[in-house]
């Protein structure tokens, strides 16, 4: 009879790290590598920046570490005409330029051998036929068994066409997985529409909506920090936390992406996805295990509990001319391709509340923007002050509250600000930092987010991908904020490039007797 305290066996995750020994005793204790099944990775949008800067360098790094299956092929699909050889040459150049590992022919050659290119806009049967025939040929030449990972790095406007064509021509053999790049829609309605198109042909467990922030080691470390250490969870709540600050700051401008950015703005580019995911990971309850559904169930509860902020709790901004890293830069409205009267926001700050038992009345101040003084993504948990420090007022004058600061990038790591006595006769207390630096404790290069995510998708592990209900919750919050914006017209630009945003963002915290973390 099962005892009340016995644990149910955990659902096995697809990537097996320690193999089952029921049948094969030789597997006992072996740490098996997560090597995916033989498969073909088909990249739609292969002529784009993402493929060159991120995807191919990530594949090369996986090949470098022998993490790709032996039977593997890559097919690039894009509109522009290109031969297989030209595609390989272009990708080789990209790998040499952007990969984190040294270039080695013995790593590149086998990878390049399985590379093909198909030029099609996917709007006609001929293009589809061509792709299917290349894939079938590769299956037979390289033994990839009909397994497909389709990576959709394409604009939303052609998304439906490609998904329908892929669905219509699904093969009978092997598995199919669909990796979908952001943006997943531009509002709730369009996200639902996109999803309806996907659902016609694919199951939810075949869809991998990528948010590359979740592939970052430091974001995953947030889960380790919270749930592998007994000391944090007891104080990770409204009783002890005064407030949370999440900053996603970029010093760059829009980098020739005016077409996209004019439509998206900071709220759709960063807030809707990366920022809300960081918030969800910070605020979520402990999952019962680390399977995809358990983790995503907890994240979606946070997103559902987010209170829609009123207009006074959201600040938007747009950068004007200014100086970044000593260089004079133009304002947003002067960027190439941007409407000189553009009302697109390049900065958003907001005060959010997670309406649940753990976080009631604890503000989460979030901000993100372009052309800020430096690139920085941090999550700061600011704790309540000690209730009654038994020191003279002057002694603790410079003492700030304890802050647990998670550096997502750069300087990946965690630091804790604590008060310490300044050596000497008197009793003066000063804030000092205890630092854990990733690069200091583990001197192995951190893998790029895309390496982790591509491999996860190949092995079918969706833990670090966004589920449709999360996407919908994210959009419904963004839609509510944007709807309120339709009623006013702020005086843009309202912050000079190279500053930490408009003064109203400071006011947002000042009203609550708080301030943004000092940099």
């Amino acid at each position: 009879m099962p005892c009340g305290r016995c644990k149910r066996p955990r659902a096995a995750k697809t990537p097996v790290s320690v193999a089952t020994t029921q049948e094969n005793p030789l597997l006992e204790g072996l740490q098996l590598r997560r090597t995916p099944d033989p498969c073909i990775l088909v990249i739609f949008g292969a002529s784009g920046d993402l493929t060159q800067r991120k995807l191919l360098p990530a594949l090369y790094s996986l090949a470098f570490r022998r993490l790709l299956p032996e039977k593997f092929a890559v097919v690039g699909v894009a509109r522009s005409e290109e031969s297989d050889g030209d595609f390989r040459d272009r990708m080789k150049e990209a790998v040499q330029k952007f990969a984190r590992d040294e270039f080695r022919d013995d790593v590149w050659d086998p990878l390049a051998e399985g590379m093909r290119y198909v030029a099609t806009d996917f709007a006609d049967e001929a293009g589809e036929n061509k792709l299917v025939s290349v894939l079938n040929e590769l299956d037979s030449d390289r033994g990839t068994g009909g397994n497909r990972v389709y990576y959709l790095a394409i604009p939303p406007s052609v998304f439906g066409t490609v998904v329908r064509a892929l669905g219509k021509r699904r093969g009978a053999d092997g598995w199919t997985r669909l990796i979908v790049e952001k943006p997943f829609g531009h509002d709730l309605a369009s996200a639902r529409e996109l999803n309806a198109t996907i659902e016609e042909h694919f199951q939810e467990n075949e869809v991998f909506r990528i948010d590359h922030y979740l592939g970052k080691e430091t974001v995953q470390n947030m889960l380790a920090l919270r749930f592998a250490n007994g000391i944090f969870e007891p104080i990770w709540n409204r009783q002890f936390v005064d407030h949370v600050q999440i900053t996603v700051a970029e010093s760059i401008g829009i980098e020739n992406r005016a077409g996209y950015y004019e439509q998206a703005g900071a709220i759709r580019d960063i807030f809707q996805n990366h920022l809300l995911q960081l918030l969800a990971i910070t605020a979520m309850e402990p999952p019962i295990d680390f399977t995809a559904d358990s983790v995503r169930n907890e994240k979606v509860k946070v997103l559902r509990a987010l209170h829609t902020p009123g207009p006074k709790s959201v600040v938007r901004g747009q950068y004007g001319r200014g100086f970044v890293e000593g260089e004079e830069v133009v304002g947003y409205r002067e960027e190439a391709g941007v409407d000189p009267q553009s009302m697109t926001e390049t900065y958003v700050a907001a005060k959010l509340y997670v309406d649940n038992w753990r976080w009631a009345d604890t503000p989460f101040y979030v901000r993100m923007g372009k052309r800020l003084p430096r690139r920085e993504t941090t999550i700061a948990i600011e704790f309540k002050r000690a209730p009654h420090p038994p020191f003279e007022e002057l002694a603790a004058e410079g003492l700030r509250p304890n802050v647990l600061l998670v550096h997502v990038q750069p300087d990946e790591g965690v630091s804790l600000a604590i008060g310490a006595k300044v050596p000497g006769q008197g009793m003066t207390i000063r804030t000092v930092h205890m630092d854990f630096l990733y690069g200091g404790a583990f001197r192995t290069g951190l893998p790029e987010a895309y390496e982790r995510l591509i491999l996860d998708a190949m092995v079918g592990d969706a833990t670090l991908f966004t589920r449709i209900d999360e996407v919908e919750e994210q959009w419904s919050l963004v839609d509510a904020i944007v709807a309120a914006w339709a009623r006013d017209r702020p005086a843009f630009p309202n912050y000079p490039a190279g500053t930490w945003g408009p003064p109203s963002a400071d006011e947002l915290l000042r009203r609550d007797g708080r301030s943004w973390r000092r940099h």
Binding site: L26, G29, G439, G440, A441
Partner: protein
């Protein structure tokens, strides 16, 4: 040349001085992951230094290298080195290497030298070059203050009998064997031959004696029946035959000595499969 440090207190003082950023009063940030102690008799000095130099980059922590010189006049000579690495934007961290010559009687009680130098609350590893003197007080004392003993039974004479002493310390300290780690590419390869391998009677290993003994022991212990061993000596694991048929060669290149030691330093628990393989090698 710096004067040798003759006491633990002097070593600690020197460490503290070297950790200060030149021209300032603030210290470099020290990384604290583990204490790695190495026992390096004279004949192993060169090999040990090679591996340690590759290791500092990957496991930056405190390394204590003990050079026993029991035939010298009693005394302790210490040298301290702090290596500084850039990390992130404008930040630097440091790692510490302490080299201690234990002369005369000092070589008889190394645990008393190591203990005050261990980083508190962090795992301590002991790398022992050559065959450990099982039962000797200075060795037994050291394994009582560390969490994991790292050996390379490839360096041992008289296998498999030399494993006997090792089996007696399994309950006291977790053991990593670099020779076992060197078979790690082959074991999944052989496991992939299941179920054909289930009734194998004979294994022929071209490799070191340790690799041959451990692979045979592994098969015996996992398959729960005897497997006869034939050994073709070679300085690396170059091939395995099962009942006269060559097993397919595992993909990829074999890892370097530093890589192997580095991987072992990431392990903390006991390796029951290895322990069973050692016992079965003796059977």
């Amino acid at each position: 040349m710096a004067q040798a440090l003759t006491s633990i207190r002097e070593i600690e003082r020197e460490l503290s001085a070297l950790r200060t950023v030149p021209g300032t009063e603030s210290p470099y940030q020290r990384t604290s992951v583990m204490t790695h102690t190495a026992w390096v008799p004279e004949e192993w000095v060169e090999a040990a230094e090679d591996v340690l130099s590759g290791l500092a980059e990957r496991h930056p922590s405190r390394t204590v290298v003990l050079f026993p010189q029991p035939d010298e006049k009693d005394g302790l000579d210490g040298e301290v080195e702090v290596d500084v690495y850039p990390v992130g934007e404008g930040r630097r961290i440091c790692t510490e290497t302490i080299r201690v010559r234990l002369r005369g009687q000092r070589a008889a009680a190394p645990a008393s030298v190591v203990q005050p130098l261990l980083l508190p609350d962090l795992p301590a590893f002991l790398r022992w070059r050559g065959l450990p003197p099982f039962g000797a007080e200075y060795f037994e004392g050291l394994i009582d203050v560390v969490d994991r003993l790292v050996i390379d039974s490839t360096e041992w004479p008289g296998l498999p009998d030399s494993y006997r002493g090792l089996t007696e310390i399994f309950d006291r300290v977790a053991v990593s064997d670099i020779a076992w780690a060197r078979t790690s590419r082959w074991r999944p390869q052989l496991a992939s031959l299941w179920p054909g391998i289930a009734d194998v009677k004979r294994i022929r290993v071209t490799g070191t004696a340790a690799q041959a003994q451990l692979l045979a022991g592994w098969l015996r212990s996992r398959l729960k029946h005897d497997v006869a061993l034939e050994h073709d000596p070679s300085d690396r694991l170059a091939g395995v035959e099962l009942d006269g048929k060559p097993a397919p060669f595992p993909p990829g290149d074999p890892p370097s000595g530093s890589d192997l030691l580095s991987e072992e330093l990431d392990k903390f628990g006991r390796d029951g499969i290895y322990e069973d393989a050692v016992r079965a090698a003796l059977a």
